[in-house]
């Protein structure tokens, strides 16, 4: 996917660009704010990684311009500023996420991935429920009763599959295909691992995952009708 990186510190820009290129993304790297703002006007990106302190035009300015023009591209803001007197933060200006420098590059990559996925996979009906488990596919959040539980990407995908058809039994192979796709090599043990983690994280919920011997797994809403 195509990513625009706007960062004027050479080392940082290089490291970010290299990381994303290594995972198969195309990265356009701009060091000047004004140039970046112009490029955004006529190029479509899957993600914009935006530094705040920039020559030419301030990152917040660019962000405001993007949102003003009705562009919903995910924006991840990198900031070295202290919020000493910031009345409005990056999120208030329409950023989807932000990281304070210095950050962990793996964290940046992970957050970028979340943003890109959220953007491409936006579904109309967002909330699916089974018993007291609710999955919001828009915000990718999971609630067990009133408690919001943090799930990893694959755990969430697995839960989404199970929650979509409560009571139905999914075989391990079926789940493997749904969760990892055809490209990735994974074996049935991985499913067991994820089912295990999911059970642990959903502990306390009335709805629960039932192992059907020899067939696979199903999600049942629990004692409540």
């Amino acid at each position: 996917m195509r990513i625009l990186l706007v960062e004027d510190t050479h080392d940082v820009g290089e490291a970010i660009a290299r990381r994303f290129e290594a995972t198969g993304h195309a990265v356009d790297w701009e060091t000047n704010g004004r140039d970046a703002a112009e490029i955004i006007d006529f190029t479509e990106y899957a993600l914009i990684i935006l530094d705040v302190m920039l020559p030419g035009m301030d990152g917040f300015e660019i962000l405001k311009r993007i949102r003003k023009s009705g562009n919903a591209v995910p924006v991840l803001v990198l900031t070295a500023r202290s919020e000493i007197d910031d009345r409005v933060g990056a999120l208030d200006l329409g950023a989807d996420d932000y990281l304070v420098k210095p950050f962990d590059f793996r964290e940046l990559e992970a957050r970028a991935r979340v943003l890109m996925r959220r953007h491409t996979g936006g579904e109309a009906t967002n909330l699916i429920k089974c018993g007291d488990i609710a999955v919001d596919r828009g915000t990718r959040s999971v609630h067990v009763g009133k408690r919001e539980v943090q799930l990893k990407r694959r755990e969430l995908t697995l839960l989404e599959v199970l929650v979509a058809r409560p009571g139905r039994v999914f075989s391990k192979d079926e789940l493997l295909d749904q969760i990892f796709g055809f490209d990735e090599a994974a074996n049935a043990n991985a499913i067991e691992l994820y089912i295990g983690r999911l059970r642990k994280k959903l502990e306390g919920a009335k709805a629960h995952i039932v192992t059907v011997r020899g067939l696979g797994y199903q999600l049942v809403p629990g004692d409540a009708p």
Partner: protein, 466 residues
């Protein structure tokens, strides 16, 4: 920051009131004394006239009959003196030979008659142990049989005069008293009115937004100008200081973070691919140290920011759930260990607190970050709840927790606890700073079978929410 330590001198109003009443009192005392003096003089004059008149009438009535001096005292003279009805009257008529013709034999004028210059006189004297006014009149007789000087002495007790003096003085005193009272009330009103600008200035300065460091613009009398300009001068300097500090922290943040990010970028670019075992070990140490440095830098800046904001940012009603959720999103990395169960729980009613969202978020981020780094083994729970007049943000983990004896130390800067790996740095110090600035507390709940909990307690906001 609070003016509790201010020493209260006597109030300006009180001081002025005291001085003015002192002056008025002295004035009134002088006036009353003067009134007494004048009243006495006036009373004496009035009664002396009667006394002298009576003496003269009596002297006039002396006549020589058949060569003998006879006194046929006129009733009109006694009627005249009878006007002072409570007083007693004594008289004595002395013939040309100095013998008492009629009246009290022992009545004498204080100055012997032979030496009196004037034919008429009025003097103070004492008769029969009582203070009296004594008048005398002289009659010169030129009869061939009786010639020479004959005298009439009339004395009168002082009661009527005293009564008149008293009455006159009393009336004057009442007038003086009323006037003084009016003057005092007028002066107090005038002082109040004159001091009003001081009060107004006080109210204006007191009612100010704490971050409004613009000059005071209140119309004050000229006399207060130096005071106001001192306040404004001070505010100006404070403003400069605040700006300077703000700029310094902002600059420091940017100036330190940028190269630090570049450094982590370089480390990331370096990779471990080409390194041998020892090299990899060094590389990992560099990586660890760099992330430690990054964290510490962030905490120091965040600490400075939080302290600064506590003094300069106005608190407003904010939803604690929103702030806590944001903090939760920031503090939990996407790359967190997938085996850890992390959850966030919020109540249905959205508790509001009066606070600064940025500082509160920073505080909660630090508490969660601490739990994640030093506490959590398998489970981390963030809960927001409200009960009574308080709202709570609880961060519970299943780690070993901090033993109660180290709780106090844990909130100090750079405290190290034995049970935790490394230093908890400034995390709890930041959280406590923020809690205090919000009228709340940072506390701990001892480890139970579930886990160890850090509790941020804040007063619940009960007012209207926009």
């Amino acid at each position: 920051m609070r003016p509790e330590a201010l020493q209260h001198g006597p109030s300006l109003f009180g001081r002025l009131a005291r001085r003015i009443s002192f002056v008025l009192f002295i004035g009134a005392a002088l006036l009353v004394s003067a009134a007494w003096y004048y009243a006495e003089t006036a009373a004496n004059k009035a009664y002396d006239r009667l006394l002298v008149g009576a003496a003269l009438q009596m002297a006039e009535s002396l006549s020589v009959e058949d060569g003998i001096l006879t006194a046929r005292l006129p009733t009109s003279a006694f009627e005249l003196l009878g006007l002072a009805d409570r007083d007693r009257i004594f008289y004595r008529v002395i013939d040309t030979h100095g013998q008492t013709l009629t009246g009290y034999d022992d009545l004498k004028t204080p100055t012997p008659l032979e030496r009196a210059q004037d034919p008429l006189s009025v003097e103070e004297g004492v008769y029969k142990g009582e203070p009296v006014r004594i008048a005398h009149a002289t009659r010169i007789l030129a009869d061939p049989a009786v010639s020479g000087r004959a005298y009439v002495i009339v004395a009168q007790t002082n009661e009527a005069r005293l009564a008149l003096t008293r009455e006159l003085t009393l009336r004057a005193t009442i007038l003086v008293f009323i006037m003084s009272l009016l003057a005092f009330a007028g002066a107090m009103l005038a002082i109040r009115y004159a001091l009003q600008p001081v009060e107004q200035l006080g109210t204006e300065v007191r009612g100010r937004d704490p971050h409004d460091l613009t000059p005071v613009t209140v119309d004050v009398p000229r006399e207060l100008d130096p005071f106001v300009s001192s306040i404004n001068h001070f505010m100006g300097r404070l403003n400069e200081r605040v700006d300077l500090l703000q700029r310094f922290i902002a600059d420091a943040a940017h100036q330190i973070r940028t190269p630090l990010t570049a450094l982590t970028a370089q480390i990331d670019l370096l990779g471990t691919g080409k390194l041998d075992k020892a090299g990899r070990q060094h590389f990992n140490r560099v990586k660890e140290r760099t992330s430690e440095l990054s964290r510490l830098t962030n905490q120091l800046l965040s600490h400075a920011m939080v302290i600064h904001r506590a003094d300069s940012v106005q608190l407003e009603p904010i939803s604690l759930v929103d702030v806590a959720r944001r903090a939760y999103r920031v503090a939990i990395p996407v790359t967190v260990d997938p085996d850890i169960v992390i959850s966030f729980e919020a109540p249905d009613d959205r508790p509001f607190v009066l606070g600064d969202a940025v500082s509160l978020r920073e505080a909660i981020v630090n508490v969660i970050d601490n739990a994640l780094r030093h506490g959590t083994d398998q489970r981390l729970e963030v809960r927001v709840r409200a009960s009574g007049t308080q709202a709570f943000v609880e961060v519970e983990d299943d780690g070993p927790g901090i033993p109660p004896e180290s709780w106090e130390k844990a909130t100090q800067r750079f405290a190290t606890s034995k049970s935790h790996e490394g230093s908890s740095g400034l995390g709890f110090a930041i959280a406590q700073e923020v809690a205090n600035a919000h009228g709340g507390t940072l506390g701990f709940r001892a480890r139970d079978e579930k886990g160890f909990t850090v509790v941020l307690t804040l007063p619940l906001y009960k007012g209207e929410v926009k």
